[in-house]
Symmetry: C2
Subunit: 297 residues, 2 copies
């Protein structure tokens, strides 16, 4: 039996051994049985990772998300799991830079002042010359770093594990008081939940900006509400999410909120398509796969 790849049409490139499937398409027993390389649906479509139980010849499950918890629970023994490494970096990192620039230069205030035709010219703090701390040195954190480099800033990176030039969490009490801008780009897990709490925020200098483009629960919302005004916040993610219309965060001073726009852009499809094509090529050619999720974490 020749093994085939099952790939959603939104990211599939036709070719020998590739079966492209639609969002509402029902896959036959024969298709499932011959599947060796499976790409489950992306967000929006009905989850179909459970279909792996009916794929006795499956070798690789290639996800379109960075997270993988939803697939790991259905993963048959011996199947290699790969995530969408790199696919969401460009989109999320550019939003982080956009939130920084909007907050520094008052673009959000100017947008709000348009309704009353108010020309409110006053000086701002540039991004240039600011000291920026990026917490998280994965794909998104590194992409933020790379995009900030030409802006004449000083950038420090922080990650859990010490690497070349990257600070570790024990250095936060020294680094936080020195920084003008702190960007959160870590995945949410038990070790990062409420990483940004009252103590963390108390170490930030007056007027400093905290930007969160990861997951809302990395920041303690109550602690943030208590510091809004002394500190500034630019948030693409909140806890809870979506933020209820009557939540006090909406009207807190010096807070800018975007509704989880991080990864949901035109950047997704071409990057996901490229990753799937490359990974399929590696699998079909018997080469080692990229973006393999370590199953013992």
């Amino acid at each position: 039996m020749q093994k085939i790849a099952l790939i959603p049409e939104i990211v599939g490139t036709p070719g020998p051994g590739v079966m492209i499937y639609g969002e509402d398409e029902r896959l036959s027993d024969e298709q499932l049985e011959s599947c060796g390389f499976f790409v489950p649906h992306y967000m929006g479509a009905e989850p179909n990772t459970h279909l792996m139980a009916r794929m006795p010849n499956l070798e690789v499950c290639q996800l379109l998300t960075a997270g993988f918890e939803h697939a790991r629970q259905f993963l048959p023994s011996g199947v290699t799991l790969c995530n969408a490494k790199g696919v969401h970096d460009a989109s999320t990192s550019e939003l982080a830079v956009g939130l920084i620039l909007a907050s520094q230069r008052g673009i959000d205030d100017a947008a709000r002042a348009m309704a009353s035709g108010t020309w409110d010219h006053h000086p701002h703090e540039s991004l240039a010359d600011r000291r920026v701390l990026v917490i998280g040195a994965g794909g998104v954190g590194r992409a933020i770093h790379d995009r900030l480099l030409p802006f004449e800033v000083t950038i420090r990176m922080m990650a859990r594990a010490s690497r070349d030039g990257i600070a570790t969490p024990d250095q936060l009490p020294v680094l936080l008081p020195q920084c003008d801008i702190v960007v959160i780009a870590v995945p949410l897990d038990d070790t990062t939940r409420h990483l940004v709490n009252a103590e963390f925020l108390s170490q930030m200098r007056d007027g400093a900006l905290l930007v969160n483009v990861s997951r809302g629960a990395v920041v303690d919302t109550q602690a943030m509400l208590a510091e809004a005004g002394r500190l500034r916040f630019a948030l693409d993610v909140t806890d809870p999410e979506p933020l209820p219309a009557d939540h006090p965060l909406w009207s807190s001073p010096h807070v800018l909120i975007t509704p989880h726009l991080g990864g949901n852009t035109s950047a997704f499809v071409p990057r996901a398509r490229r990753l799937v094509l490359e990974q399929f090529g590696r699998w079909a050619g018997g080469q080692p796969l990229d973006a393999v999720v370590p199953l013992v974490l």
Copy 2:
């Protein structure tokens, strides 16, 4: 007689031969007579370029602005005029990138939606993968180019004179229909007034974004009003300026306006101070000056 430098306190660094003067300070005849290197006031303070008529030993006039018309009319014969080359590039270029990112990712709409607590999540066009045309290859244009480079975009530069890889105005009919984002970074003069007119705008593709961080009159406001909706606009400068409260541009669809925030940031003082110190050093050391304005234009 030892010649001295007269430098405003906001950008002056004390040292031998340097006389720092305050915003309201009256300079004595003796000080004016011995002045060989003069830095007039920056914006905000009372203009004092006319004092050059009382400086018989003046050799250099170093401005803190990029423009120089206000000084040239008072410039004694034989005096070298220098402008503030590079001082405003970082501040203006980062605002241009901020306006691009805010417009692409809906940060302005999100800021406006906060008042009603509206979580309006929908997909946007990323900056990544866009084709950007930067018109103007001076300091600001090149600084915009350098800051956009890591965002996974395709960038074309355009300038009046053909240079290595830089397009010229005769290529606009080919380039404009191909571009998603057009950034204006040219000085205003007789050749650039209404450079962006109805014909220019008609060549831009549906949904494309025009960003102006130079001077309002480079764009024909009436032509822009006629295209707002089909095209998108992000403007730090307008014509007229300030924009009157009842001007239709404020409420035109897909228009984002900031109140001429380009150069007015914390980035000014350290860069101006550095330029003045370097130029003073060159003058005192008898070396050729940088940023010399050609007096026959």
